[in-house]
């Protein structure tokens, strides 16, 4: 067998080298390029020196040539009595194009994550606790099939259902509930949240199911033997023990939804661009490589920070149990 640690290390490195070289050349180098471009000066379709932090500063630009930092530094104007503090903040943020897209994508993704996880938990709980062991994989298979059917088709189908004069409109009109087209798909943010929550629903069930399967059933019996009600046992034993699955589910839903491209394009005639659509505009249509790269880096940072937040939350939960 592998004699010395040195030869083991060499064999291991040699074995992983094709995959490693592939990802270094085609993933690490491109990501590094984006990082470098984000601090370069540039015009349409090219980048040049000098190195600058200007692109990141411009991410805070507001419509009409201002900047968010100046806006907030000036403080709240006192003369207008109708202007509340929240409204002042909202006015600033909604005028800052880049910041607003980032925040809107974040809020939509968090809402989708919350909805999918809340809806998926009882399903995972049912399959784990109330289905016979030999039937469990059948249930899981049924839940995962929709996930494996074309994402484009699933999203486009919602457009057929919810779109202008679509199935929903025809149904509501034939029932006499409304006599004009409701056209739910033009409702921007709510429609995006609804379609994404449907598209990523099966993702959330599996990790929660896996963590529920690991819950030691004798703990539950112990809880009930000691006189706790079923509901309290659930809150104090099952729920905390399944938290790692809930966090994993949140991450699995959050990351692809925050970067979703197709749904915002379809819904509301693409008038609600999210991060991915914005990156497309910046990098492909405007060919503003430095500014687009800075935006891409900022959105990666945002996704990274939120994901690390989820992971830390998970750590705290595990520590709290001890």
């Amino acid at each position: 067998m592998a004699a010395t640690p040195g030869s083991e290390a060499r064999t291991g490195l040699k074995l992983i080298s094709p995959t490693a070289i592939y990802v270094i050349l085609l993933l690490a180098v491109p990501l590094a390029t984006v990082l470098i471009y984000s601090v370069m000066t540039g015009g349409r379709g090219n980048v040049s020196f000098p190195v600058t932090g200007e692109n990141y500063y411009s991410l805070l630009n507001t419509k009409g040539g201002g900047n968010l930092i100046d806006y907030f530094a000036k403080g709240m104007p006192g003369e207008d009595p109708d202007l509340t503090f929240l409204k002042w903040i909202w006015n600033g943020l909604s005028n800052a194009v880049y910041v607003f897209v980032l925040l809107k994508s974040l809020m939509i993704a968090l809402a989708v994550t919350l909805i999918t996880v809340l809806l998926a938990y009882p399903v995972a709980y049912f399959v784990s606790f109330h289905v016979k062991p030999d039937r469990k994989s059948l249930w899981l298979f049924l839940i995962t099939i929709p996930f494996w059917t074309s994402y484009i088709i699933r999203v486009s189908l919602w457009f057929v259902i919810l779109g202008y004069d679509g199935l929903l409109d025809k149904l509501l009109m034939s029932l006499g509930i409304t006599n004009t087209q409701l056209n739910f798909s033009s409702y921007g943010v709510p429609a995006i949240i609804f379609i994404l929550a449907h598209a990523y629903a099966p993702f959330a069930v599996l990790p929660i199911f896996v963590s529920l399967e690991k819950v030691d059933r004798s703990l539950l019996e112990a809880g009930q033997d000691l006189g706790e009600s079923r509901w309290i046992t659930f809150l104090r034993v099952t729920l905390p023990l399944s938290m790692p699955g809930v966090i994993a589910a949140s991450l699995i839903v959050f990351i692809p939804t925050v970067g979703d491209y197709v749904t915002p394009r379809l819904v509301g005639d693409g008038k609600q661009p999210l991060i991915a659509n914005f990156i497309e505009t910046q990098l492909l249509k405007l060919q503003d490589f430095p500014q687009g790269s800075a935006f891409a880096v900022a959105s990666m940072l945002m996704v990274g920070i939120v994901s690390v937040g989820f992971v830390l939350l998970n750590r705290r939960f595990i520590r709290g149990q001890k």
Binding site: A2, P30, H198, E213
Partner: protein, 269 residues
């Protein structure tokens, strides 16, 4: 098992919600009405005929097949190297390298696509099916590595040691002992990477230079109401295909677990 009627009805309701749009596919694919609306008109196979006679669709399907087969092969091979190395050997830089390989799982796909696109444009590589393939492999390799890692983990190390003790070379041991035992994992990885690649949209759209690729083509056609019924027919075919492929993948995965003497722990992921 305790009965839980409330939970059970909720779960069934949830499944109905999940399947609601998919159920429409076969219903309207066989419906003779020109618009997608109830009440249904009558039974027809016209939409399937229209789908089969669509020349652009054929090109798109052919391109998607070429891409998916190449991506599945390439990422499964790359996955075998990475999974075998990470399960069997300790070496410096293992954690950051494996982290980089798995990174696309936690990165919005758009960013992977754009980063690659910016570099390809800068060094002047023309966009083609080839650039779609190299991009998609980045996305599917983490799935291949995950599936193959569990396949390699369930291997009994003593089998390998026995072969080496009996005088087999490292390569001979790999070919004669390890490969047959992880073969179900390899097939499962191939099928899953194939399915992911076949459905993939973002990289196909941005790295494909407007070449007809199935997912991009479908996305474009849904905008024209007259094209929707034949797209629903296509969707029906694709859903049936995915279910068959997944059935196979699940079968191989279970056989793999049975071969290695393990216990089934459910699902792919």
């Amino acid at each position: 098992m305790k009965r839980a009627p409330l939970l059970k009805s909720y779960t069934i309701f949830y499944l109905v919600f999940l399947y609601a749009p998919i159920v429409l596919l076969p219903i309207f694919a066989f419906n003779s009405g020109k618009v997608v609306a109830f009440p249904l008109q009558g039974f027809t196979l016209d939409w399937f005929r229209e789908m089969l006679s669509d020349q652009n669709l054929r090109t798109a399907a052919k391109n998607s097949l070429i891409i998916a087969l190449s991506v599945a092969t390439l990422s499964t091979v790359l996955g075998i190297f990475a999974a075998r190395a990470s399960v069997r050997y300790r070496f410096p830089g293992k954690v950051p390298l494996m982290g980089l390989i798995m990174l696309p799982l936690v990165l919005p796909e758009m960013i992977v696509a754009m980063a690659l696109l910016v570099v390809l444009l800068s060094i002047g590589v023309p966009l083609s099916l080839f650039t779609v393939i190299i991009g998609q492999v980045l996305i599917t390799t983490p799935f291949a590595v995950a599936i193959l890692t569990s396949a390699f983990q369930s291997l009994d190390k003593s089998l390998e040691e026995a072969a080496m003790d009996l005088g087999e070379t490292a390569w001979g041991t790999f070919r004669l002992i390890i490969l047959p035992l992880v073969m179900p994992g390899i097939l499962a990885s191939f099928l899953i990477c194939f399915t992911i690649s076949f459905d993939e949209f973002i990289i196909s759209n941005f790295l494909g230079s407007g070449q007809p690729i199935l997912s991009v083509y479908i996305f474009g056609q849904f905008r024209f109401p007259a094209k929707v019924p034949s797209m629903l027919a296509l969707g029906t075919v694709l859903v049936c295909m995915s279910i068959i492929l997944l059935g196979f993948a699940e079968y191989f995965r279970r056989r793999g677990i049975a071969k290695a003497g393990g216990k089934d722990s459910g699902g792919f992921l």
